[in-house]
Symmetry: C2
Subunit: 349 residues, 2 copies
């Protein structure tokens, strides 16, 4: 089959690779209907994290089940399924605690399972899914094609935005600032809105993203960053800042801005993959009682809550996709995101 | 009057100082019935934080109101009052948000008020209390002397332990580990118990403190520290760790132990004054979804909740005092705590 392989910095190719097949009785094989490129895929693409040897890439997909192992009972051949950006058993103590990203038997697409067997990346034609019962969520019926982008966001960015909001304790009446206007940041706006936030500020300087942020529920848009951004935010919220700040970037600058923006006693919910730090300034956090909570988002556990709203059209997180390409043009998908010509690119095998 | 003055490293004296008096209409003057020495007072005592010039010290006291300014309405001459370890107006936006330690007009004992007027330290015979309505809580009647130690803990250590537990999200059924067996750590055990924790581990290697920890509700005591302590704790809680870890020390080692002990998705509630760091390891926190929440405890806001239980004897946090001395022996009080001959020393002017 064809699959996306990263060979090195800015060198992404669609190559021929062996077809995946069932390797254990708990596996499924899924034909990918849509996959996409993640902001975190750009770290190896940009060479920020090194690629020592060619490696399957991609961790967000939806598709149709083509085969299931003998021990798979919750998904069936022909089902349309959503896969989170990792696989997990949904039964271990960490999964039961709602932290399936720390599953004791799980792992990552484009890697290996606990037995060392290969697990393909998601930007390909097919994926072997270990722990299929724990990992996959089937929709009640095969959805209209128009719903595919929004369903695909449940694999990562919508669930991750939701995690940022939950981690920051967003609830009815909360005041919220979202740092980052990428796909996750925009989804965090939407998540905050559906959790009942009374005021939501999107920190954004891109006109097209501002439009989506407002569609998703942002009441205000602030283009300033750094010291100016913090000052502007403080001023907007009683001179002290908002209850919740959702950090959706992962750089030292964005985390610093998030921590300094929150009001005393406020909470930063962060989901941006920390890129080589920063370490958090405990003295400032202590003095202001600003908490920091979040991490790699356990999106598998959020699918059941969010799926009905996607299917009904109540939320349309798929709006974050502003470019759709055939899988064969994966290299262009990466370039478009790297050069910020696209917010989020959907790939169709 | 007589008051405790720190002159430098390991040089604490009781000196003659001017009597405090009303300086603004919102002041009260309180005659100190009991004060005490805080673990954080040991940082200047040990020279870890420098003392550039002689300075009034002490920030925990209870007493009897002797004078009130014309604008004071909630406390009256003759009232027995509890003062938090800071003064605050209880009306500004931060106070209303429950973060009175970030009061916009408040400040610290042994310092100055917002107008630059002197505010005495608490380890003396009398204290001028700015913002008396916001700061002081009067008991319904002058309490029995036997209740004074427990009431005094509401000025700091009991409220601080409670803050650690709240910050970590302790609730009915939570599993909890408390790092630190000083007065705050012991109070954190008590706080976790009254919030409904199902299992509470006190990390302690001092027999006398272990006894109090068990009295306060600890179900287990673990003497190991560092890697051994973490391994022991993981093993006790499904191999993954407890829901909540209460960090009540403030050193790099204790915070590291706390973060590594929490289960994935767990929360560290920290109240130990960070002593020169550490910066928090965001990569580990991100990967495990362990949150960090807490800071300088807004104990003023907790007095109303905890006071009835102290008055009824339902909780006896005053058990943390294991030495009582006359004010004139303040130097011995510091030495006893520094040398760990005492957990917490009560001073009587």
């Amino acid at each position: 089959m064809r699959a996306t392989i990263i060979h090195g910095e800015r060198d992404v190719r669609v190559d021929d690779v062996p077809d995946p097949r069932l390797l254990t009785p708990t596996d499924a094989v899924v034909r990918v209907v849509a996959a996409c490129v993640c902001g975190s895929d750009l770290w190896p693409y940009r060479g920020v994290t090194p690629t020592d040897e060619p490696k399957a890439i991609g961790h967000e997909f939806v598709g149709i089940v083509e085969e299931v192992g003998d021990d798979v009972s919750t998904v069936h051949v022909g089902d349309f399924v959503i896969a989170p950006f990792y696989f997990c058993d949904s039964t271990c103590v960490n999964c039961r605690n709602g932290v399936s990203t720390s599953c004791l038997t799980g792992g990552w697409w484009g890697s290996t399972d606990r037995d060392g067997k290969p697990v393909p990346g998601a930007q390909g034609e097919r994926v072997r899914v270990p722990l299929a019962d724990g990992t996959l969520v089937a929709t009640p019926e095969v959805p209209d094609d128009g719903l595919v982008p929004s369903l695909l966001t449940l694999a990562d960015v919508m669930g991750t935005g939701h995690h940022a909001a939950l981690s920051a304790g967003v609830t009815t009446g909360s005041t919220v600032v979202v740092v980052g206007d990428g796909a996750v940041g925009l989804c965090a706006v939407l998540a905050a809105k559906r959790l009942g936030a009374s005021r939501i500020v999107a920190m954004s300087r891109h006109a097209d993203r501002q439009v989506i942020a407002r569609e998703f529920g942002a009441t205000d848009v602030v283009p300033e960053r750094g010291d100016e951004g913090v000052a502007r935010i403080k001023e907007m919220f009683d001179g002290v800042g908002p209850d919740c700040v959702l950090e959706c970037v992962g750089t030292k600058e964005s985390m610093d801005q998030a921590i300094r923006s929150a009001r005393p006693g406020g909470m930063v919910g962060y989901v941006g993959v920390p890129n080589g730090g920063p370490e958090l300034p405990v003295g400032r956090l202590f003095g202001t009682n600003v908490g920091v909570n979040g991490g790699v988002a356990p999106v598998r556990g959020y699918v059941e809550e969010l799926l009905p709203e996607v299917l009904s059209g109540a939320i349309t997180p798929g709006r974050v996709f502003d470019l759709e390409l055939p899988l064969e043009q994966a290299a262009e998908a990466y370039a478009a995101m790297d050069e910020r010509r696209a917010t989020k690119v959907l790939l169709r095998p």
